[in-house]
């Protein structure tokens, strides 16, 4: 029986990646068995995530470790002529290149699409810049945080009627980028396998973010309205909200989508009067009186323990859930049932656990995802096994500052 972690055995990808989206995209392909050779260099530049939270130890940055599992790490100075030559030799033997540098960075070094496709006409070059390679703002520097605000996601991610945007502390567009890039890469790999064709793909992380908000743009385009934030309110369900429970920062969500679910909710609340209250008789009534309904829900849930009430509601057929924090996730019995977390006992940052991912291949046992290697761990192996150089050549290039 094969393992999902070997699906991409034999696929070789060169990765020029930094930060969150690009590296994690490479990690996902590596996790499923691709040989992802990540190229960094002291003189040429290191992944920025190596510098965060590591007391100067570039191999002990937690976020870097999280985003680069299972990759191979190679140091090549791509500003050196011999470094460029090595990259081209590698490109000749690779299926694809994955890059999330700013547009034209590789091109200015003589490693642009044309040069790489010259040495390997069927190679796939997948680029994942913030706003894309073309267009008047292609030179902008952006983080996922900025792309959230550019696309309209920040604007819509708010409670209704606020006088300022809130959005997110996080970098959701990076998440969308690192799940979309391997998906598009897989389509390109299938195309390459079936037709022999290579291609250059320019994936804009800003557009990937907007791609998820299509309905909002249709509201503008078809109905002529600029959509406004809805917060936790729904156009169809009520009650539909997030309510404080007993304890510090303990919250419960409830989403009632039908009259049947409403009657079940009233049953769990033990509130016969509420079930007969004409203000809340139908979905339309409940949405019309959503403020009053939220007040009723808030009063009731404030006296409940979320771990108890959310499960009682679900058991009775009412959609509800604990607003889970990091501890809750790590202890979640459903995620544990899925063998969701891979445990690493021995790492530069001590023991930890990491999510494997959102999908399981049923009846195919998963293997351990290898820990992120130290910088340059695979330089010699790649030079020897992939490119066929001997120890003397490798030693010479190390001394000359090419393989560092």
């Amino acid at each position: 029986m094969s393992s999902p972690n070997r699906i991409l055995e034999g696929v070789r990808i060169i990765a020029f990646t930094t930060g969150y989206a690009g590296p994690y995209a490479g990690r996902l392909l590596a996790q499923y068995g691709a040989e992802v050779i990540k190229v960094e260099s002291f003189p040429g530049g290191l992944d920025t995530f190596r510098h965060y939270g590591a007391e100067g130890d570039i191999n002990a940055a937690p976020r870097f470790i999280e985003c680069n599992l299972a990759i191979r790490s190679m140091t090549v100075n791509i500003k050196h002529d011999d470094g460029k030559r090595i990259i081209k030799e590698l490109a000749a033997k690779a299926n694809a290149v994955l890059v999330n540098f700013r547009p034209q960075v590789l091109g200015r070094l003589g490693l642009g699409d044309d040069e790489l496709r010259k040495v390997n006409p069927s190679i796939i070059i997948l680029k994942l810049p913030g706003l894309g390679e073309t267009g008047p703002k292609n030179w902008y520097g952006t983080w996922g945080f900025n792309l959230n605000s550019f696309s309209g996601m920040t604007y819509l991610w708010n409670h209704p009627g606020q006088d300022r945007p809130i959005g997110s502390q996080g970098v959701y567009p990076d998440h969308l980028g690192f799940i979309s890039a391997p998906t598009i890469m897989m389509a390109a790999l299938l195309r390459q396998k079936l037709t022999g064709k290579g291609c250059s793909i320019d994936v804009s992380q800003g557009e990937v973010t907007a791609y998820t908000l299509g309905t909002s743009y249709l509201e503008s385009s078809i109905n002529g309205v600029d959509p406004q934030p809805q917060g936790n309110r729904s156009l169809t369900a009520a009650p539909h909200g997030c309510y404080r429970c007993e304890g510090d920062e303990r919250w419960c969500v409830v989403s009632v989508n039908s009259d049947d679910e409403w009657r079940r909710l009233c049953g769990v609340m033990g509130n016969e009067a509420l079930a007969g209250d004409s203000r809340f008789a139908t979905c339309v009534d409940r949405r019309r009186h959503a403020d009053e309904l939220d007040a009723v829900m808030s009063d009731w849930l404030a006296t409940q323990t979320v771990e108890d009430v959310a499960h009682r509601l679900q058991a009775a057929g009412v959609p509800a859930g604990v607003v889970q924090n990091g501890t809750d996730l790590c202890n979640d019995p459903q995620l544990r049932h899925r063998d969701y977390f891979q445990k690493y006992d021995d790492s530069p940052i001590g023991p930890f656990e990491l999510p494997r991912g959102g999908i399981i291949f049923r009846d195919m046992p998963e293997e351990e995802i290898p820990i992120t290697p130290p910088l340059g761990e695979h330089t010699e192996q790649v030079m020897r096994d992939v490119l066929g150089y001997d120890e003397a050549a490798i030693a010479k290039w190390k001394e000359e500052g090419v393989l560092v």
């Binding site: 945080f145 959005g167 250059s200 385009s221 999908i359």
Partner: protein, 399 residues
């Protein structure tokens, strides 16, 4: 006209997806697969979901249906009837992928679970999308988007700390899971091409969300709980939304950017020159003190004007756009992200194409199917049912 599709033609998908799984089929259609959406004769539930085009609640008017099913073909089939299920199995024989997002056990109970499907089509890829997974203690829990965002951990860290946690817009937990499921589908097809085996993929919305923003990892590696922080980034400052004369701007300055920012800000408060503030952690710890000062600078400018000024100095900043601002942005217009869709009922409108350029060209958007639009084409033309058969099926309410 739009560019060629990324995938070569010939991949066939049967999409039994409900609202939860609809975007997976759309992604695969946008990549070039022939995706046939199978709806009950009364129509997919999503057709009844607002917002509606021009307020008209009819079977073709749901904008969510129109977007999440764009690029697919559509047929109707009543899977609760044996005749309907037999036709489905005939279609499965000709398919590479089946997507399903009914509650776990639904297809098995109808006698068309993975085993029955594979018996008719060896090497099939079945993608089962559900809120929590195909088995386990929460298997039968209901999972609207609000619940899966909560149970997946993203809701807890979203929103202003003085307010209620705030769910992301547009059904993001479903959308994200569908992207993950599309990746799984393509991995499974690669495995089929290289190893000759099919696969059954179990996608969980909760599991797809629980890897976000290092929430679980921060607890497991540092025993630290991430909490709501509004728009303030957890490790960096200034990394927040700041007021402008005509709106807001997002500005994100790491230690590399900080000295550049001070240089461009003539007459900045001298206490900001404290060398200790070069360090990300020091600035983050001082965010409550720092942010109002930064705001006093940003509020002198318009948001677009300031983002250009910041960018010219190499500082990452972009305006907070409404959806319409984004659609009208010259960069988005020049890249041709939006294309025109012609729909028999909805008319002509702008919709995103695929979010990438293939060799410099973009594949534009296509309309969603009307209810039963491709019945004759698929069931007649491709499956070979006669007009008479189709008439009987229609009269019996199977199609």
């Amino acid at each position: 006209m739009s560019a060629e599709s990324l995938l070569p033609s010939g991949f066939r998908v049967l999409d039994l997806g409900t609202a939860m799984g609809a975007f997976c089929g759309k992604v695969l259609a946008d990549l070039g697969m022939d995706v046939v959406k199978v709806e009950p004769p009364s129509g997919d539930d999503l057709r009844n979901e607002p917002p509606f085009a021009k307020g008209r609640n009819n079977r073709e008017g749901s904008l969510r249906f129109a977007y999440f099913n764009s690029g697919k073909r559509g047929i109707t089939l009543d899977l609760r009837r044996e005749t309907g299920r037999n036709i489905l199995l005939d279609l499965v024989e000709r398919a590479d992928v089946v997507i399903d997002s009914h509650e776990p056990g639904y297809l098995e109970d109808l006698g068309i679970g993975y085993g029955e499907l594979v018996a008719r089509r060896p090497k099939l890829v079945l993608v089962s999308i559900s809120a929590f997974g195909q088995d386990g203690p929460y298997r039968d829990y209901r999972g609207p988007d609000l619940v899966t965002n909560a149970m997946g951990g993203l809701l807890f860290i979203s929103g202003d700390p003085s307010m209620t946690p705030c769910v992301p817009p547009g059904g993001q937990s479903y959308v994200y899971t569908c992207l993950y499921s599309a990746l799984g589908t393509l991995l499974a097809l690669w495995q089929r091409e290289t190893k000759g085996v099919g696969a059954h993929i179990d996608a969980s919305v909760q599991a797809s969300m629980a890897l976000h923003e290092h929430v679980a990892f921060t607890w497991s590696s540092e025993a630290r709980l991430m909490k709501r922080a509004g728009s303030q980034h957890q490790h960096v400052a200034p990394a927040n939304l700041f007021p402008c004369k005509d709106g807001w701007i997002s500005f994100f300055a790491t230690q590399r950017h900080w000295p550049i920012f001070l240089d461009m800000w003539e007459g900045h408060p001298t206490e900001l020159d404290d060398p200790a503030l070069i360090d990300n952690a020091k600035r983050r710890a001082a965010a409550d003190w720092l942010n109002p000062m930064v705001a006093s600078f940003t509020s002198q400018y318009g948001k677009e004007e300031l983002s250009v000024l910041f960018q010219k100095h190499g500082l990452p900043a972009l305006p907070v756009n409404s959806p319409r601002d984004f659609m009208e942005d010259p960069h988005i217009v020049e890249r041709g992200f939006f294309g025109t869709v012609e729909h028999p009922v909805l008319g002509s409108f702008s919709q995103p194409g695929v979010p990438f350029l293939l060799d410099g060209e973009r594949r534009g958007p296509r309309p969603a199917p009307m209810l039963g639009q491709h019945n004759a084409e698929v069931l007649g033309g491709e499956l070979g049912l006669s007009e008479g058969d189709m008439g009987v099926l229609a009269a019996e309410g199977v199609i």
